[in-house]
Amino acid sequence: MTEYVAMFAGGLLGSAHCVGMCGPFAAIVGAQRRSVRAAVSRQLCYNLGRVFTYVFLGATGGHAAGYLARVAPNLWFAQHALGVAAGVLMIAIGLTTLGFLRFRWIWFGRLLATAAPVFRHFVHRPAGPGIFLGGVANGFLPCGLVYAFLALAVTSGSALSGSLMMACFGLGTIPAMTAIGCGSNMLSPRARLRVYRFSAALVILAGAITIHRAWRPPADGCCDHATPRLAADITAPAEEVHEP
C-alpha cells in the first residue's frame, strides 16, 4: 500500500514539472471554457486521458518486466538499475527546476509545435471524448518525470500493480494541472515561486531515497514488493505463461 501512497505523493510534488511542460496543453483545453463547471469538467476529461495513458504504460511496462523476470531470471539486477535510473532522473528534474542544471529544451518545443495541431484537432470539440483523446495523446509525449515514476512502476514486475501505481502517480498530478488549466492564480507570483522551489527540493529528496532503496533494498520492509512478486512469478505454472 505504501508504494501507492508514495507514487501519489510523487505525482503531487512533481506536478511543478508538469505545469512547466504540459501547462500549454492544459491552457488550450481551458481556452474555450464558458462556465467554471464546464472548465473543470473539460480539465478532468483531459487529465483523465493523460492518466489513462500512464496506466497503460504502467500495465505494459509491468507486464514486460514480469515476463522478462520469468524468461531471464539472471537479469535480476535490471530492476535495481531501473530504480537507480528513476532516482537519477528525479534528481535531474529537481535540479533543472531549481535552475542548477540547464538542459536544452529546444527539441521539446519543436515536439510541442508538431504535436499541437493534432492535439488541437481533438480538443476543438465541445464533447468529452475528444478532449479525453487529446489527453491520451498528451500522455505519450516524452517526459522525464513520467519515465522516472514509470521505471518505479515497472520494477513491480506486474501489470496490475504497475498500472495501479501509475494511476496513483497520475492522480497526484491532476490538482495542479487542473488549477493551471482553469486559469487559476490562487497564489501570488512570489508564493508560487516558493512552492515551485519547495516541490523541486522534495523531488530531489525523493530521488535520493529511490536511489538508496534501489541500491540496497531493505531485507524486510514496505518497499521490497518487487522481489517476492518476481519470485512468485517464476514459480507460476508454465501454461499460464502466454505471450500475445
Binding site: G49, T53, H121, L133, V136, S158, P244
Partner: protein, 692 residues
C-alpha cells in the same frame, strides 16, 4: 495495394480504388487539411487507439499471472471473479474496436469485390474476426486463450499503416495546393462602382480586381491600370522583378513590389496558370517509368501469391489440428507481406521529385522523364535563346560616308523610330542609344510594317528603319549605289538593321547575341556531373567557333534541324542518353528526338508538346540541379525497392513457419511503410548541395 493514382482517382467522377489505402488517400486529398471524411477516420482511429490501450490494461494482468497467483493464495470473491470480469470487459472493448476499424475496411472490400478486385485488407479483417470469435468462445466456455489485444493491435496498426501511406501520397501530390495556399482567400472586386471583398473562387472572367503593392495577385489577368515591378518568382522561379504595365499579363501568385495594380481576370479555374500546372503534373503522375512499371507488375503477381501462401499456411496448421495457431500464422503472412510498400516505393519518390522541381520552376510534363534524366550522359544545348540572351545587342553602327548628317543625330533618329516597334532588334537599338546617352528623336507619326520595319517623318525627311528587303521595296530606287557598301559592311553571320533617310541608305546597325550570365557556371556544373556538354546551332561556323572558345565546349554550327537530330543520335550511340535544351519553338524536332527534351522560358505556355520538362523561367542553373534531383530521386527509388523486397523475402518465411506473432508482423508492416515514406519525403528539402 499497388499502382493506383490517388489523384486521378480523386478527380474522376466514379473513383476506382484498388484498396483501402487508396480510398483513404482520396479522402485525404479530397478534403482540405484535416476535415471531412479523413477527420472522421482520424477520430475513429484515435478512439480505437484508446480502446486498444484499455484492452491491454485489462488483459495484460491475465497474462502476467499475478491474478492467478492471488487466486491460489487467497480465495476471495474478487480474486475468483476478477479474471472473468477482465475478459468480459476486454471482449466488449475489442468488439467495439472491430466495428470502428474493421467496418470501413470490409465496406471498401465489398465495393472492390463487386468489381472483381481481391483486397488483402479484407482478408486481414476476416482473420482478425476469426480470432475474435475464437476468443469469444473461450470466454463463453471459461477456458482457452483470448486474443483480444492481438486483434485490436492488428486493426489499429493496419489502419495506421494505410493512413500513413495515404497521407504520404497526398503530401507528395499537393505541391500545387501549397502554391494555392499562398493566394489570398478574399479578393477585392470592382462591383457596382465600389470595391467589394469576395471569395477568390467566386471571381468571374472580366471582373476587375485590386492588387495592393506587396500583396499577392489572386488571379490570372491583364493589367488595366497601374504599373509596378512584379515579382514573378512563383511562376518563373526568377528572383528579379520585372516591369509590368497596362496591357501586360500577370499570373496568380505574382507580387507587385512597388505599386498597386488593377487586373482584369482573363482565366479562372482549370484554364488558369495554376490549374494547367496542376493538370500537367497530374498527367505526368499517370505516366509511369520503367522501374515503376516493373514494381507494378511484380506487385500484381505478388498479391495472389501472398494470399495463396497465407491460405496454405492456415490449411497446413488446421490439418495438424491447431486451428488457432493456423489462423494466427496465416494472419502474420498477410500482415508482413505489405504489397503497398512495393506499390508506393517508386511513385512516392518520383512525385516528390516532381513537387521539388515545380517549386523551382521546372515542370515534368512526362512522368518518366525523372528516370531518364538520372541516366543522362550528354547534355546538348541549342544556342540562340538558350545559351544566349534572346535580345541581341548592337555591336556597331556604321555610317554611309555619303550621308551628311552627324552620327549621333542618325542614331537619335533610329532610336526614335525603334520606339514604335516591339521587335527585338528595335529594342536593341533603343538600348544602344541609351548606353551612348543619346535621346531618341521625337517622331510625330510612325508606321510599323510588322516584322519588317518602321517608317516615320522627322523635320521634313522620311526615315526608314528595317531589313534590306524592306528598304529595297520601300525606296524609290532601291538601295541603289549603297548596295555594294552594304554587301561589304554587313557581316554574313550576324543580324543587321538598315537606316535610310529619304531615298538613300544612311547607316547600318550590326547585332550580336551575347551569352547569358549563368551559361558558363551552368555548363561547368553539368560537367562536374560527369556529363558531356555539346552545343548545336544553326548559326554560322565563325560565330560557333567564337562560342566554343568562350565556353570551352564542343560546338557544331551551321546545322539544319535534320542535322541536329542526326547529331543527337550520334551522341546517344557513343555515350548514352541525351538531353536537349532549347526554347521549344524553333528546335522542337530536336527536343522531341532527344531522350529528354527540356524547354526553357515556357512561362505560362506549359504544354510545348515536344518537351518532357518545361522550365518556366530562363535560369540555366536549374538544368544541373534537375539532373542532381533526378539522380537523387532514383537512388531513393532503388533504396525503397530494395527495402521492400528484402523485407518481404525475410519476413514471409518467418511468418509461414510461425516464428512471427501477428502483432510484430503488423508492427513491422507499419515500420516498413514509415521507412519508405520517410525516405521519399527526404526529397522535399532537396537543395542540390547534397551530393547526388
Amino acid at each position: 495495394m499497388p499502382g493506383s493514382d490517388s489523384a486521378s482517382a480523386a478527380d474522376s467522377a466514379e473513383p476506382l480504388y484498388c484498396c483501402y489505402g487508396c480510398r483513404l488517400a482520396a479522402q485525404i486529398a479530397g478534403s482540405h487539411g484535416i476535415q471531412g471524411q479523413a477527420a472522421w477516420m482520424l477520430a475513429r482511429l484515435g478512439a480505437a487507439v484508446a480502446l486498444t490501450m484499455a484492452v491491454m490494461v485489462f488483459s495484460l494482468p491475465l497474462y502476467s499471472g499475478d491474478v492467478y497467483a492471488a487466486e491460489v493464495t487467497e480465495r476471495s470473491d474478487l480474486a475468483v471473479h476478477l479474471p472473468a470480469l477482465l475478459r468480459a470487459t476486454s471482449l466488449l472493448l475489442a468488439s467495439t474496436v472491430f466495428v470502428l476499424l474493421g467496418g470501413p475496411i470490409l465496406l471498401a472490400a465489398a465495393r472492390a469485390a463487386r468489381r472483381g478486385v481481391l483486397a488483402v485488407d479484407a482478408l486481414i479483417v476476416i482473420g482478425v474476426g476469426a480470432t475474435l470469435v475464437y476468443s469469444f468462445l473461450a470466454v463463453w466456455r471459461g477456458t482457452g486463450h483470448t486474443y483480444f489485444e492481438t486483434a485490436c493491435m492488428i486493426l489499429v496498426l493496419v489502419t495506421l499503416g494505410r493512413y500513413l501511406e495515404a497521407s504520404g501520397r497526398s503530401r507528395a501530390a499537393d505541391t500545387i495546393r501549397a502554391l494555392e495556399k499562398l493566394l489570398p482567400d478574399e479578393v477585392d472586386v470592382w462591383r457596382n462602382e465600389r470595391w467589394v471583398p469576395i471569395r477568390r473562387d467566386c471571381v468571374h472572367v472580366d471582373d476587375v480586381v485590386h492588387v495592393a503593392a506587396g500583396g499577392t495577385c489572386p488571379v490570372d489577368g491583364r493589367i488595366v491600370s497601374g504599373r509596378a515591378q512584379v515579382d514573378q518568382r512563383i511562376v518563373t522561379g526568377e528572383s528579379h522583378p520585372v516591369q509590368r504595365q497596362p496591357g501586360d499579363d500577370v499570373f496568380a501568385g505574382t507580387i507587385p513590389v512597388d505599386g498597386s495594380l488593377h487586373v482584369m481576370v482573363t482565366r479562372i479555374g482549370a484554364a488558369s496558370m495554376l490549374g494547367r500546372l496542376k493538370s500537367v503534373l497530374d498527367e505526368a503522375r499517370r505516366a509511369k517509368g520503367r522501374l515503376e512499371r516493373l514494381a507494378d507488375r511484380l506487385a500484381g503477381a505478388f498479391v495472389p501469391l501472398v494470399v495463396v501462401l497465407s491460405l496454405l499456411t492456415v490449411g497446413y496448421g488446421m490439418s495438424h489440428g491447431d486451428t488457432e495457431r493456423a489462423i494466427l500464422n496465416g494472419l502474420a503472412v498477410l500482415l508482413i507481406s505489405c504489397p503497398c510498400a512495393l506499390g508506393i516505393a517508386t511513385p512516392l519518390a518520383v512525385w516528390m521529385a516532381h513537387g521539388a522541381a515545380a517549386k523551382r520552376g521546372a515542370v515534368f510534363v512526362h512522368g518518366a522523364a525523372v528516370e531518364t534524366l538520372a541516366r543522362i550522359r550528354t547534355v546538348a544545348f541549342d544556342k540562340t535563346g538558350t545559351l544566349t540572351e534572346p535580345e541581341p545587342d548592337v555591336v556597331a553602327f556604321s555610317m554611309n560616308d555619303a550621308d551628311t548628317e552627324s552620327e549621333p543625330d542618325l542614331v537619335a533618329a533610329a532610336a526614335g523610330l525603334a520606339k514604335a516597334s516591339m521587335h527585338v532588334l528595335c529594342q536593341g537599338i533603343g538600348r544602344y542609344a541609351q548606353t551612348r546617352c543619346i535621346t531618341p528623336a521625337a517622331f510625330i507619326e510612325t508606321k510599323t510594317v510588322a516584322g519588317r520595319g518602321v517608317v516615320g517623318q522627322l523635320n521634313g525627311c522620311t526615315y526608314r528603319l528595317g531589313s534590306r528587303t524592306f528598304l529595297t521595296d520601300g525606296l524609290a530606287g532601291g538601295v541603289g549605289g549603297a548596295g555594294a557598301w552594304l554587301d561589304d559592311r554587313a557581316p554574313a553571320d550576324a543580324a543587321v538593321t538598315i537606316l535610310a533617310r529619304d531615298s538613300h541608305v544612311a547607316g547600318l546597325f550590326t547585332f550580336r547575341d551575347h551569352l547569358r550570365g549563368d551559361a558558363t557556371a551552368a555548363i561547368a556544373e553539368i560537367r562536374r556531373l560527369a556529363c558531356n556538354v555539346r552545343v548545336l546551332t544553326g548559326d554560322h561556323t565563325a560565330r560557333g567557333r567564337e562560342i566554343a572558345e568562350q565556353l570551352g565546349v564542343d560546338v557544331r554550327a551551321g546545322l539544319s534541324p535534320q542535322d541536329k537530330i542526326r547529331s543527337l543520335r550520334e551522341f546517344r550511340d557513343s555515350a548514352g542518353p541525351v538531353a536537349m535544351i532549347g526554347d521549344g519553338l524553333n528546335d522542337a524536332p530536336a527536343l522531341a528526338a532527344a531522350d529528354v527534351g527540356i524547354a526553357m522560358g515556357c512561362g505560362a505556355d506549359l504544354t510545348r508538346e515536344s518537351a518532357d520538362v518545361c522550365l518556366l523561367g530562363n535560369d540555366l542553373k536549374v538544368v544541373p540541379w534537375l539532373i542532381r534531383l533526378s539522380r537523387r530521386a532514383m537512388t531513393i527509388v532503388r533504396q525503397n525497392l530494395f527495402w521492400a523486397f528484402a523485407y518481404n523475402l525475410v519476413g514471409i518465411p518467418l511468418a509461414i513457419t510461425g516464428r512471427l506473432s501477428p502483432i510484430f508482423a503488423a508492427l513491422a508492416m507499419v515500420a516498413s511503410s514509415l521507412l519508405v515514406l520517410g525516405n521519399s519525403l527526404r526529397l522535399r528539402g532537396f537543395d542540390g548541395v547534397t551530393r547526388a
